[in-house]
Amino acid sequence: MTSPEKSPFALSPRDWQSQPPYLHPPYKSSVARAPRHALVPLKASLGELTQPVYGHDSASDIDHDLTRNALKNGEPIGERIIVTGRVLDDAGRPVPDTLVEIWQANAAGRYVHRTDQHDAPLDPNFLGAGRTLTDSQGRYRFVTIKPGAYPWGNHHNAWRPNHIHFSLFGLHFASRLVTQMYFPGDPLLELDPIYQCTPEGIRSRLVAGFSLDHTEPGRALGYEFDIVLRGARATPMQGQP
């Protein structure tokens, strides 16, 4: 078999300097769940293992618009926003035709998920989940409602900052990324152990920028959030399988 180092499909390594540690005691749930052994380098290349196969019809015409994809008897309550950006690899190349899935709380800070016990109202016209595919330039675009902050049990008077969950594969199984996008100027960021677990100087990559260019007059504020995934380290030569 091909050694991972020599594989023409090798991915750039996961940059652990940019990643949170597994164990971060201020985030209490990590204590019982974080692995304690060091990761074992995989003696095989996963670079040729692609993202899951899905069709271009995987996301319907309104799956990217969370203000329209779950309407029952009106419009969702809250501040309409546009969230857009590019999915790039760490060499700066766009990642086209890749699935971006998001989920989030409603404007009141309440998730549809049945185990969310926060005493805040559900919105009958807002599910809070969406998906889309990036275009040929790696760009994605969602229309949604700005999520509210909500309390959680991590410590006394703990509140999660406003955030949207993102799930992506990119072109490869090994470039999988699950992350959260935050909003600029949120005073809860400096108090949040999940955000703070990411190294200083790196964590600002998780904060979207306000964008007047993407703001729709009379309709919705725009936020821009680029996402950078691991990419192929070298372009496979033509004719290789």
């Binding site: 078999m1 091909t2 996961r14 940059d15 940019s18 990643q19 949170p20 540690p21 597994y22 985030y27 749930s29 019982a32 769940r33 974080a34 304690r36 052994h37 990761l39 074992v40 380098p41 995989l42 003696k43 095989a44 996963l46 293992l49 899951p52 196969v53 899905y54 790039l88 760490d90 060499a91 700066g92 998001i102 989920w103 709380a105 998730y111 549809v112 998920h113 049945r114 185990t115 599910l127 809070g128 989940a129 969406g130 969950h165 799930s167 199984f173 090994a174 990324l177 699950v178 992350t179 959260q180 999940i194 955000y195 677990c197 190294p199 990559r205 998780l206 680029d226 996402i227 950078v228």
Partner: protein
């Protein structure tokens, strides 16, 4: 332009189900991926792959997301929706551990074959959950593939005492073949997780 650094991971949190596995949990959204990777007419040995995820206190975890990627019985990964439509084999599955008794996960698939580069039959796994700030990768090998496992460079690179954490145990039942694979986040017999 200057390439930017990799975006950091953040936990999947406890509330992913209605976004990532909505159909399994009964939410009003279609699921792109689910627990069934193969049709009854898909070539190969139909198997049930099941197990539980345990935390460091030996308690089962009911809000983990398990994603698997595997080759078909011939060791091939489907490359297009046309191929999937023809063979019935999707090569990828996704489930949460919150809907079955004991917080079990369960996939219906076929046993993968030896891949063209000679690796023993295996399934690649990504595990995400509340409390895990980055997802982890692991691999499932099969207890009835001793010869292939003995030649596999990945298994060979793992300390012998930890290798059993990567082997799914075959159980032959009247209803068919089950492989059981538990995942232990830490504590005794912590599952081997890979840097890929």
């Amino acid at each position: 332009m200057t390439p930017a650094g990799q975006t950091p991971s953040q936990t999947v949190g406890p509330f992913f189900a209605y976004g990532l596995v909505p159909r399994q949990y009964g939410y009003e959204l279609s699921s792109l991926f689910g627990a069934v990777l193969a049709r009854p007419d898909t070539a190969g040995l139909a198997i049930r792959l099941t197990g539980q995820v345990f935390d460091g206190n030996n308690e089962t975890i009911g809000d983990a997301l398990i994603e698997i990627r595997q080759a078909d019985a011939q060791g091939r990964y489907p490359g297009s929706t046309d191929e999937i439509a023809a063979s019935g084999f999707s090569g990828f599955g996704r489930v949460g551990t919150g809907t079955l008794p004991g917080n079990a996960y369960e996939f219906r698939t076929v046993k993968p074959g030896v891949t063209p580069d000679g690796q023993a039959p295996h399934i690649d796994v990504i595990v995400s959950m509340r409390g895990l700030l980055s997802h982890v990768f692991t691999r499932i090998y099969f207890s009835d593939e001793e010869a292939a496992n003995a030649r596999d460079p990945v298994l060979d690179s793992v300390a012998p005492e930890r290798r059993p954490t990567l082997i799914a145990q075959r159980i032959d039942e009247a209803g068919g073949v089950t492989y059981r694979f538990d995942i232990r986040m830490h504590g005794d017999h912590e599952t081997v997780f890979f840097d890929v």
